[in-house]
């Protein structure tokens, strides 16, 4: 009964294909988020430390990093996808599928995430850094024992925003054969004009975004002590 109803309302939807595409999207998201955090967190910390009036103020280095981040952030992601193809092939051996999508996603999201990390660290009270210095803490100890734990709610919020940005990026990577729900939406929903496929993929993406945001917000509250 329900199956026939689904078939009537959504004649073009191939649920197995939707299942594979969803899995691809989750894999792309998981893989790219992991590498974005691994690369973006140190970059954000470096941006913070070398920034104006900070622990390791380095005008030249900060200017250079800042420029690099701004350049990468100002390249439209669609263009970045195409520009990255040779490098992607070099790293993963292919520019297609989940593996081919992850490098451009990471390169697109890392500068964005690093800026959010920098901002989150700036929110930490300077007095805390001074207290740690007065205790005789090394810079590494200040970062790991005070700055990162104090900024944790802000960092979780940054990861949430980045994950959601990555969801919309994965949809674009369909353009270069990246697979996933976005790819499905473009190929079936748009190019073959199958609005039911379009609707299902968009709803699934919406659910994913909603789940990410809710989980992120819950974690922020859980780790907030203020």
């Amino acid at each position: 009964m329900s199956e026939s109803l689904l078939a009537t309302w959504l004649p073009n939807v191939d649920w197995q294909e939707i299942g594979y595409a969803s899995l691809d999207t989750l894999n792309m998201l998981g893989g790219s988020l992991l590498f974005t955090v691994l690369l973006g967190l140190p970059l954000g910390v470096l941006l913070f430390l070398t920034g104006p009036r900070q622990l390791f103020e380095q005008k030249a280095l900060y200017g250079l990093l800042s420029l690099l981040v701004n350049v990468l952030r100002s390249v439209p992601f669609v263009i970045l996808l195409i520009l990255m193809i040779p490098l992607t092939v070099l790293i993963t051996g292919t520019s297609l599928g989940v593996a081919g999508a992850i490098p451009p996603l990471v390169v697109g999201a890392t500068p964005f995430f690093a800026r959010l990390v920098e901002t989150a660290l700036r929110e930490v009270d300077r007095g805390i850094i001074e207290a740690l210095q007065a205790m005789g803490a090394s810079t590494l100890q200040i970062i790991t024992r005070a700055l990162l734990p104090e900024a944790l709610p802000g960092l979780i919020a940054a990861i949430t925003v980045t994950a959601i940005t990555l969801v919309s990026y994965t949809a674009m990577s369909g353009l270069i054969g990246g697979g996933g729900l976005g790819d499905l939406a473009v190929r079936y929903g748009y190019q073959r004009y199958q609005p039911d496929v379009m609707a299902v993929t968009v709803i699934l993406l919406l659910v994913l975004v909603q789940v990410l945001q809710t989980a992120g917000d819950k974690l922020v509250v859980h780790f907030s002590r203020k």
Binding site: G127, A131, G136, A137, R145, E150
Partner: protein
């Protein structure tokens, strides 16, 4: 002992140089409570931070217990800082860590004790500051006074020989201020560590300090034992701080009692003399009448003192003055 030898501090701001501390000499004996008082921008905060080199001196030498700390390298400086505790106006506790974890932090950073030793040290410290039952709370759940107690416990964790207090009571209400000052005095007495505190309230100096230095525009303008500086302030800045602590406004102070007849004098009593019935005795013996124009009777740290401004009329005024001079009081004839 903390010694400053011609220490100065200047830093560039938008092209020109600001001098936060002019070349200054200072000596703080071990075991003392040393107060630095000054208005904001007077350089007291800079001077305090020079002691643990949170501020780098532009010149001069700072010697602590015979060791020139201005010559320490980064490694040596970190080890030195572990022997100097510091508490702050806004407490600077880590919001993400419990009370116990905040107090444990300096011990973990030093890395000399195992976790069970750290735990027992932390519980001793929390006992000392009266917060044993709050060990597992977060700073946001505590009152201001409790937060500062955590700050004090944290500062004492590595058993420092010096405790630096940066406006430690300025964010607290008067009652809590009293409790925190009492705790500091107790720590000084029982642990014998030196305390250097900065404040803009003469009352804080009066209640806990042994020695005081008054700062104005990057210069130490007056220093000495608290009783001396407090009862006989020489510099205009010091006089203003003393007046502020008595809640006397400027206009009132400039009133030199022109409309009062007779001789005007100021008597300062200290210690046991505060309780001697001197005025009545002298009045009876010499036949003078006295009226009290202004006065205060209070304590400096644990010593009682009194300071009275009197007008004397009638009787044998010279004999009365001679009696005051011979007694255990400080006499100033104002008119």
């Amino acid at each position: 002992m903390i010694e400053f030898h011609q220490v100065h501090k200047a830093y560039p701001v938008q092209g020109h140089t600001i001098t936060a501390l002019h070349p200054s000499d200072l000596r703080i004996e071990t075991g003392q409570v040393f107060g630095l008082i000054g208005h904001s921008g007077a350089g007291k905060s800079t001077l305090l931070r020079l002691i643990n080199r949170l501020e780098e001196p532009s010149g001069g030498r700072i010697v602590i217990d015979g060791e020139d700390i201005t010559a320490l390298d980064a490694q040596g400086l970190r080890r030195f800082r572990q022997q100097v505790g510091m508490i702050f106006q806004h407490f600077n506790l880590l919001a993400s860590k419990t009370v116990a974890a905040n107090v444990a932090l300096p011990l973990q950073l030093a890395g000399e004790l195992g976790s069970s030793e750290i735990a027992s040290r932390v519980s001793q410290l929390l006992q000392r500051v009266g917060l044993a039952e709050h060990a597992h709370k977060y700073p946001a759940q505590l009152s201001g006074g409790q937060k500062q107690r955590v700050g004090i416990a944290r500062a004492l964790a590595t058993e420092p020989k010096i405790l630096l207090c940066d406006e430690a009571t300025s964010a607290l209400d008067p009652q809590t201020t009293g409790q925190v000052l009492q705790l500091l005095a107790e720590i000084n007495r029982e642990l014998g560590l030196s305390i250097v505190l900065i404040t803009h309230e003469m009352d804080v100096i009066r209640r806990v300090c042994d020695q005081v230095a008054v700062m104005d525009a990057g210069v130490i303008v007056e220093q000495g034992p608290v009783a001396q500086v407090f009862l006989h302030p020489q510099h205009a800045t010091t006089q203003r701080f003393v007046r502020e602590s008595e809640h006397v406004d400027e206009g009132e102070q400039h009133d030199d009692f022109a409309h009062v007849s007779g001789r005007i004098l100021r008597l300062t009593f200290q210690g046991e003399a505060t309780y001697a019935p001197l005025l009545g005795t002298v009045a009876r013996e010499t036949g003078v009448d006295y009226s009290i124009l202004a006065g205060r009777i209070d304590r400096i740290k644990d010593n009682p003192y009194g300071q009275l401004t009197l007008a004397l009329t009638g009787g044998d005024i010279d004999a009365a003055l001679a009696r005051f001079r011979a007694a255990d009081v400080h006499l100033e004839v104002l008119r």
